[in-house]
């Protein structure tokens, strides 16, 4: 219980402080925009404003005009039509004003008795450079006819390269504009704003309602087959290389997860990631019936092709006091923990050969005072288990053969020893050839063999006794070693960048043999994926698999449909 309290107290504290953080105008360059109509075109990353446009820059300059357009990615804006600029050292009228925050330059077309071209540097509006040649597209206004705005509002605050806060307005959802009190659009090039602490869902629509340069809060409407439609919440705190993500998912279901991910890059060579997840069964915010905590810490020290990593898992099987009448978790009070440390070396060319070599060695320990598992027929309880791992991978690059055929191969081998009379061997061999026909068609053939062996020495037959099952009499030969052989033929046809057809036909031959309804994957499968561009900014991607009636399964349960830009 104390752990849970501290965990949520920390989250609450961070949330409270984050809510109040707003960038100071003196430091942050912003454009506060008001107009009869402010619109955001998500497919173009363009904000427009029309009718009585008033833009206030962070240095206090106010520019009015009839229309405004800003390309958020190019990070420049234009105000045109009866422009009036009032600011420190300037009070002028003209045809258009263009701002380039990245260059810290502005371009102005004054309209006195005769027109002119001015270039202004920084906030020094009192000393324009007159006649200086301006970029040819400085006053470019995008053609948005045919595009539908994603957001409609009356006001927006633009923080260049970061985000736009729209208020109040409406967003386009399922073809209809839905009123919202505000929408904070993050378009930063920093991917930490989208780090995800949610478990997977079939669909997810985020509604960011509050944000700053370093944070964004969002409500998500999500859907999956287990929960149906539900709500979730996440909060991001973001720096250049570090981030914290907090989430509660689902908000309106009793079976809920509270997640926290923190990532910190201490130096160019050292980073760590902490992941906490509290899983509860809890009605609204009442005392949970079940609450467990899982913690994972990863720390990596890396340089060139080598890294040293530490991985720690801890699992608190119940955060509810043991005497609680709510507690029905049979694993109450267990705190199993696992440590793993490893040294890895990534692909390095082997002199004089086309091959690359990688290796990994490491050791780990798992401990649970209430028993990790029992061993053998005597059910010997194991509370602490040590293990060590060594493995390597040999990879060949693409080797060109006659007839424009490329071939590559890889071989991976590893052994893991345990502090028991037990070790595990694995080997994966893959050889692959492809033949491209220009950029439009590619055929490939891949063959792979995956061997996995579990070895118990003299006690092998205790763990793998001869079993005869009617569906596969060959299973009697199974003694803990499995082999999977797969052959995959690939066909990728892309006549234009706006259309792609991808077919993968796979045949899997395993030992023990796959037995329908018992175990194993389908011996034959065909996976198809088609991508078609429906419009300039919408690409539809449809995929599905066919299993040739293995275990009465023909088509995969779902057709994946995705729309992308």
């Amino acid at each position: 219980m104390p752990i849970r309290r501290e965990f949520f107290a920390a989250i609450a504290l961070v949330l409270v402080f984050a809510g109040g953080v707003r960038p100071a105008a003196a430091v942050t360059r912003t454009v506060d925009l008001n107009a009869t109509s402010v619109r955001y075109f998500s497919n173009r990353f363009i904000v427009t404003a029309d009718g009585n446009v008033r833009a206030r820059l962070s240095d206090g300059t106010v520019i009015t005009g009839s229309t405004f357009a800003m390309d958020l990615k190019l990070n420049r804006f234009v105000i045109a039509g009866g422009v009036h600029v009032v600011g420190p050292g300037i009070d002028e009228r003209g045809a258009a004003w263009s701002g380039y925050p990245d260059l810290d330059e502005s371009f102005f077309l004054p309209a006195f008795d005769r027109p002119d071209r001015w270039t202004l540097f920084g906030s020094d509006y009192a000393h324009p450079q007159k006649g200086r040649v301006q970029p040819g597209d400085a006053f470019f206004l995008p053609d948005l006819s045919g595009d539908r705005a994603f957001i409609r509002a009356n006001a927006a605050t633009i923080i260049p390269r970061q985000m736009v806060q729209f208020s109040p307005g409406s967003i386009l959802a399922l073809g209809v504009y839905v009123p919202i009190p505000g929408y904070d659009l993050v378009f930063s090039a920093n991917p930490n704003f989208v780090q995800n602490a949610f478990a997977g869902a079939l669909s997810d629509v985020g509604l960011p309602y509050h944000g700053s340069r370093t944070s964004v809060s969002a409500i998500h409407v999500r859907y999956d087959q287990t929960y149906g439609a539900y709500l979730a919440f996440d909060q991001h705190f973001v720096w250049d290389k570090d981030y914290i993500v907090l989430s509660a998912d689902p908000l309106n279901r009793p079976q809920r997860q509270y997640n926290a991910i923190g990532f910190k890059k201490f130096s160019p060579n050292f980073e760590s990631r902490l992941f906490l997840q509290e899983s509860v069964y809890q009605h609204v915010i009442s005392k949970p019936d079940v609450a467990t905590l899982f913690s994972n810490l990863q720390a990596t020290l890396g340089k060139n092709h080598t890294s040293l990593s530490l991985n720690v898992n801890q699992f608190n099987t119940s955060l509810i006091p043991a005497d609680s009448h709510h507690d029905f978790n049979p694993l109450s009070d267990q705190h199993p923990v696992e440590f793993q440390a490893g040294l890895t070396h990534s692909n390095t060319p082997i002199n004089g050969t086309p091959f690359q070599f990688a290796y990994r060695i490491g050791a780990g320990m798992a401990h649970n005072s209430y028993t990790i598992e029992t061993f053998g027929n005597q059910q010997t309880p194991i509370t602490t288990l040590w293990y060590n791992v060594a493995g390597f991978t040999l990879t060949s690059p693409n080797i060109k053969l006659p007839a424009n055929i490329n071939i590559n191969a890889s071989f991976d081998r590893s052994r893991q020893h345990y502090s028991l009379p037990f070790y595990q061997d694995s080997a994966l061999t893959t050889i692959s050839a492809n033949k491209p026909y220009s950029t439009k068609l590619n055929l490939s053939l891949t063959y792979s063999v995956n061997n996995l062996g579990l070895y118990y020495g003299d006690r092998q037959s205790e763990f793998f006794p001869a079993n005869d099952i009617p569906a596969d009499h060959g299973f009697a030969a199974f003694r803990g070693q499995t082999t999977s052989r797969s052959l995959t033929g690939g066909f990728v046809f892309t006549p234009t960048p706006d259309f792609a057809l991808n077919l993968q036909l796979r045949h899997e031959t395993d030992f023990p043999k796959q037995v329908p309804f018992v175990y194993g994957v389908a011996p034959y499968s065909l996976t198809g994926d088609v991508r078609v561009r429906l419009s300039q900014h919408v690409l539809m991607d449809v995929g599905r698999s066919y299993f040739f009636n293995f275990a009465n399964q023909r088509l995969s349960p779902q057709t994946t449909v995705q729309f992308a830009p």
């Binding site: 092709h305 793993q340 490893g342 491209p436 118990y456 175990y519």
Partner: protein, 291 residues
């Protein structure tokens, strides 16, 4: 043992690989007209010059275009509808597209045709350049000198990603870009062989964006040779016909460093009270019976 059906399938694939003749690459698409070249002067019968562009403003008897150029408007200038060439009561407004007819002697605009759609034109700006009005003489801008123009012409950009050998064959690989708000499934790549995924996209020259390679989620993102999170790749599309972008994924962020292919914990695959498995790094428990 291989069944007859699998042998036939293999034979068909092998025959296709061996016999199919290479298809020669077709020429890449011609570049689209640039913004500047859509401004088109045409010498009309009767000695008038015609020029088109997009309107910024009309003030104090001058007409300003989005090129930043201003032209003198004749006091008696006609305003017509571009499609019909008939007089219109519409007033020139910012964002409208206009066609200007010049008196080549006086250098003033004598007719202004309005349209809500771009008016495509022909050749260059040179013939009306002399009619541009500006108080100050042009001063050279050193920032623009020597800068090669990027016309926005379509360029075929081929993204090729090399993945670790442990990447499951059925896994999908994507590119997440800052232009799609880092959607981890922005661009779907096709598996070309056991180690390579590829996709071709048509992008305008001058396009610049950042990307990262994912397996469809931010919990399965590329890692560098040193196992650390690399900075996003940056692509700048040059003024060329086609461009190749290659990236190498040394491992995935959810790979267990000691057991590549075995997934580390993440929000989607961690133990819960409802699915207890406190030791995700250990192998599945040995069993004497198939399960």
């Amino acid at each position: 043992m291989m069944t007859l059906r699998s042998r036939l399938a293999l034979l068909a694939i092998a025959a296709a690989v061996a016999l199919a003749a290479p298809v020669h690459a077709q020429s890449t698409p011609a570049p689209v007209p640039s913004a500047a070249s859509t401004l088109a002067p045409t010498l009309l019968t009767g000695g008038l010059l015609r020029f088109s562009g997009q309107l910024l403003d009309v003030q104090n008897g001058y007409i300003f275009l989005t090129t930043g150029d201003a032209f003198k408007l004749a006091p008696s200038a006609r305003i017509v509808e571009a499609a019909t060439n008939q007089p219109t009561t519409a007033t020139p407004q910012t964002r409208m597209y206009v066609r200007l007819d010049f008196d080549p002697v006086a250098g003033v605009v004598t007719e202004l045709a309005l349209s809500k759609k771009p008016i495509t034109g022909e050749k260059s700006f040179e013939q009306v350049k002399a009619f541009v009005v500006a108080v100050s003489k042009p001063v050279e801008n050193p920032e623009l000198i020597g800068r090669k123009g990027l016309t926005g012409k379509p360029v075929l950009v081929v993204f090729t990603v090399e993945v670790p050998a442990s990447t499951p064959y059925n896994d999908q690989v994507y590119i997440a870009t800052d232009y799609s708000n880092w959607d981890p499934r922005s661009i779907h790549l096709d598996r070309f062989d056991a180690l390579h995924y590829r996709v071709t996209r048509k992008l305008a020259s001058g396009t610049k964006f950042a990307y990262r390679v994912t397996r469809g989620s931010w919990n399965s993102v590329e890692r560098g040779a040193d196992s650390l999170e690399p900075p996003p790749h940056v692509v700048s599309v040059n003024e060329v016909d086609s461009q190749a972008e290659r990236s190498h994924v040394y491992r995935w962020s959810d790979d267990n460093p000691l057991n590549p292919g075995q997934r580390n914990v993440g929000p989607g695959n961690i133990p819960t009270p409802f699915q207890v498995n406190p030791f995700p790094s250990l192998p599945p428990r040995a069993t004497s019976k198939p399960h």
